[in-house]
């Protein structure tokens, strides 16, 4: 038959391009982008795509990871995220704790212009300028008049930040805020180069125009590909900066990024999927890379006190909370370094002892379940009249994983719960509108206990999702706000947290862990509660070798 060979030929022809594409696959070529000879380049897997490089506008952890080294604020962080002097060499507070004075060292912007106190004033004015629309501004409302300026009710010049001379920054506060120096290291409080912003407007933060005073500056940014930053020779401590170039890749697919780290295409990645932590720790995987550490973030369920009558009964709320098997969720389901939560605040908050606990925190699960059934029965719920609830949760990975476990736990105490997965954008809108019965929510990132506790204030508004109201709680927070002594402030905050845990408008579920994959050859990456890692401390164990030879 003449036809017999045709199919074979056709198939071969068809496969030719594929073979060609795979050809020459044998040899291992450099998997990393080329690095100039004698330089050190780090490839940084950065979990997300930044939306801005402007330190005052940045809002997400992966944005802070990049921009926090573009500017040096009044204070700075060391490799372990401890507060150290930055542009200010020293500072002092007035006796009433309402005025702070920072004394600046000499420093230069990357274009050679000196950095002055006026640049700090300008930076803070930009932060609170309604036009900047910074998502971070509210974190710094302790600064005098900042809330009114931010709301457009007062002019920028009314902000309580002034520059008596070129080397002095004076910050007035609404109330004593002992942790101001710690917060002054955060990117939103960075100085802004007035002359550059005046020239370019919003476009000043484009890599082509960017001027900073920090150890690194943006060189290029291709969406979806990478942000490249390079060492700033004019940074005042430039001699101690190790790496010459760092490229940040938005590794939205954590599993794929993990394989890239394993092959050496990336030196580190700032996210690991929870359920893979144990797998990666296996000896044949990459045990030396996995860095799991508690993070100041919490996940909790919020009960809607406003619109669900059953949830107005504290016995019901406590019963629901104590029935959750947190050990199972954390140790069997996630296995990713999270910790079971029996308090509202995660451990590791600055200047906070975190001793408040739910009263049943140490009970074994069986006892908690029995007590939960008893409480529910006392509240009038039982087999004949079961409590029915709907848990609204975000459709992201972790909430989708743990809420079915909560549902099962509640079933075991006779509560019938439905789950309702909600796309993230709509979830928060629904929460703020009070359109839920029980909501899965998360909060985190800040270092100050107040940043968590304010959520349950009765006058917080829509972010107090469930509409919890306890005037004694509000009063304690007010007292803390007007307390200059850190110990006494801590005591007020601790009492407030205990009230939340006793009233149970929320059920704490677990505290978050930061999960990074770091090549053991990378030095200077110190695990800390805030998952803050300044780039200027990073280096390679074999830096000298790399510089000398391999390029």
């Amino acid at each position: 038959m003449k036809t017999s060979r045709l199919p074979l030929i056709a198939m071969l022809a068809a496969c030719a391009p594929l073979l060609a594409a795979c050809g020459g696959g044998g040899e291992q070529k450099a998997l990393r982008p080329p690095c100039p000879a004698g330089r050190l380049c780090l490839e940084y897997g950065n979990s997300g795509e930044p939306t801005t490089l402007d330190p005052q506008k940045a809002n997400a952890s992966w944005e802070f990871g990049i921009v926090s080294d573009f500017m040096v604020g009044l204070t700075d962080n060391d490799a372990a995220a401890k507060t150290i002097p930055g542009m200010a060499t020293h500072w002092e507070q007035s006796p009433d704790g309402l005025v702070w004075t920072f004394h600046l060292r000499d420093g230069q912007w990357s274009d050679g212009t000196p950095v002055t106190a006026a640049d700090f004033v300008f930076g803070l004015q930009r932060l609170f300028d309604p036009k900047t629309a910074s998502g971070q501004a509210a974190q710094f409302y302790a600064i005098k008049n900042s809330r009114a300026v931010n709301g457009g009710k007062l002019p920028l010049s009314a902000l309580g930040v002034t520059a008596p001379d070129a080397h002095t920054v004076r910050i007035e506060l609404e109330h004593p805020w002992p942790i101001l120096a710690d917060n002054a290291a955060a990117p939103p409080m960075s100085p802004s180069p007035r002359h550059v912003v005046a020239k370019w407007g919003d476009a000043w933060s484009q890599p082509a125009h960017f001027v900073g005073n920090g150890p690194y500056l943006p060189k290029s940014w291709t969406l979806g590909d990478k942000v490249v930053v390079e060492k700033n020779p004019r940074y005042f401590d430039a001699a101690k900066v190790c790496l010459d170039r760092i490229s940040f890749y938005p590794t939205t697919d954590a599993v794929s990024a993990e394989r890239r780290v394993k092959r050496g295409e990336l030196d580190l990645n700032t996210v690991v999927q929870s359920n893979r932590v144990n797998f990666l720790r296996r000896p044949d995987q990459m045990p030396g890379y996995v860095r799991v550490y508690p993070y100041v973030g919490a996940v909790f369920l919020t009960f809607n006190l406003k619109s669900v009558p059953a949830l107005r009964d504290v016995r019901v709320r406590q019963a629901l909370s104590m029935a959750i098997d947190r050990d199972f969720i954390v140790n069997k389901l996630f296995r990713g370094g999270q910790k079971p939560a029996y308090s509202f605040l995660p451990p590791g908050m600055l200047d906070y002892d975190g001793r408040a606990r739910t009263y049943w925190a140490t009970w074994p699960l069986e006892r908690r379940q029995a007590e939960a059934r008893r409480l529910l029965a006392a509240a009038g719920y039982g087999p004949k009249h079961p409590l029915k609830l709907e848990i609204r949760h975000r459709n992201t990975a972790d909430p989708t994983l743990y809420t079915p476990a909560v549902q099962a736990d509640w079933r075991s105490i006779g509560v019938k719960a439905q789950l309702l997965s909600t796309e993230v954008q709509i979830a928060y809108q629904s929460y703020e509108a009070g359109d839920f019965e029980v909501a899965d929510a998360g909060w985190g990132g800040g270092s100050d206990a107040m940043g968590f506790l304010f959520l349950q204030r009765s006058d917080t508004g829509s972010q107090n999702y469930g509409g919890y109201k306890n005037l004694r709680y509000d009063a304690l927070l007010d007292a803390a706000d007007h307390e200059r002594d850190l110990k006494r402030r801590m005591a007020y905050l601790g009492q407030a947290e205990q009230i939340v845990l006793d009233d149970a408008p929320i059920a704490p579920v677990y505290t978050i862990a930061s999960k990074n994959l770091v090549n053991p050859n990378v030095t200077g990456w110190v695990d800390n509660n805030f998952d803050t890692h300044k780039l200027r401390f990073l280096c390679f164990r074999d830096a000298a070798q790399r510089r000398a030879g391999r390029g």
Binding site: A14, C22, T52, G152
Partner: protein, 305 residues
């Protein structure tokens, strides 16, 4: 021919306009807003932001403003990517998606047509069933399964290709294969069907009767007719491929345009959504026109009028 092209281009303008209109109002009808998140903006700030982007105005006014901008070639700023305009986003992403998608569709066509012919010539024999099964397998396994499997095998285990990232041509190998696989499947099936039909047609019978070699019959006569159904498929398929793919971009960490179809819709980044929809619709219209022209070139029975 010229008048045909002109007329089609004229029709394209109102079509594009209607696409913009439908997309605009659909997008706005969806619940949610671009400025929502764990940390709520202060109400005053939210108001200021809404005013900055003109989102506080009545919808018809916003629509008119947007349309005016588009006519001037201004797609507006991104609402989420605060440092980028929609033009930046498309300018960064589209060329890369184009390279990737174009390579994939070319390879898929070559391989797919080859397999299709092979199957057609062995219709209802094991080879045909085998090819069909493989083809269906190609379409039935979602890309989010094939992509990590290929990475595990060819990158992690065998080291033939980089795991992910944008860079040299080697970085394209795996993503192109992942993109091409389902297309190979569809194209081979279309070719097989077309081929079988043509092989039974009178003109092929005539050619056989004339004693032409089977190879000449297939390559000179049958193939031409057989790939006709393919032509009308390739237009939209190419538009889909060269505008990128979320799954492939995410797993291979590629800077394409595909994620914006999905992510910006999910984040309600209205202007970006509109920008990519306009680009996509324009591409569809252009490629459909192209495939009609190709159809006419390939099939003498069709006249463009």
């Amino acid at each position: 021919m010229v008048s045909f092209l002109l007329r089609r281009l004229l029709v394209a303008v109102p079509t594009l306009f209607l696409v913009v209109t439908v997309a605009f109002f659909m997008m706005r009808a969806a619940p949610g807003s671009p400025f929502l998140g764990e940390r709520k903006l202060a109400p005053e700030i939210e108001k200021a932001v809404m005013a900055k982007y003109g989102l506080d105005k009545p919808l018809p006014v916003q629509y008119a403003t947007y349309l005016g901008g588009v006519l001037k070639g201004d797609l507006g700023p991104s609402l989420k990517y605060r440092d980028k305009s929609v033009a930046d986003i498309i300018g960064d992403g589209f060329p890369k998606s184009l390279i990737l998608g174009f390579t994939a569709i070319v390879i898929a066509t070559l391989v797919g047509v080859g397999l299709g012919i092979a199957a057609a010539l062995r219709q209802n024999r094991p080879a045909d069933y085998g090819a069909t099964a493989v083809a269906i397998l190609g379409v039935c396994i979602p890309t989010f399964v094939t992509a990590p499997l290929l990475v595990l095998l060819f990158a992690s285990k065998l080291g033939w290709a980089p795991t992910a990232g944008w860079g040299g041509p080697r970085n394209l190998i795996l993503p192109v294969v992942v993109l091409a696989l389902p297309q190979i499947a569809i194209i081979s099936r279309l070719t097989r069907a077309g081929m079988i039909e043509v092989l039974r047609s009178n003109y092929v019978r005539t050619a056989r009767a004339k004693g032409l070699s089977e190879r000449r019959i297939v390559l000179d006569h049958a193939l031409r007719g057989a790939i006709l159904p393919l032509v009308s498929y390739l237009g939209p398929a190419a538009a889909g491929l060269i505008t990128g793919s979320l799954v492939v971009e995410q797993i291979f960490n590629l800077p394409g345009l595909g994620k914006y179809f999905v992510i910006s819709a999910l984040q309600r980044d209205y202007t970006v959504v509109m920008g990519v929809v306009i680009l996509y619709a324009a591409l569809i219209l252009a490629l459909n026109l192209l495939s009609d022209v190709l159809y006419a070139v390939l099939d003498p029975r069709v006249r463009l009028s």
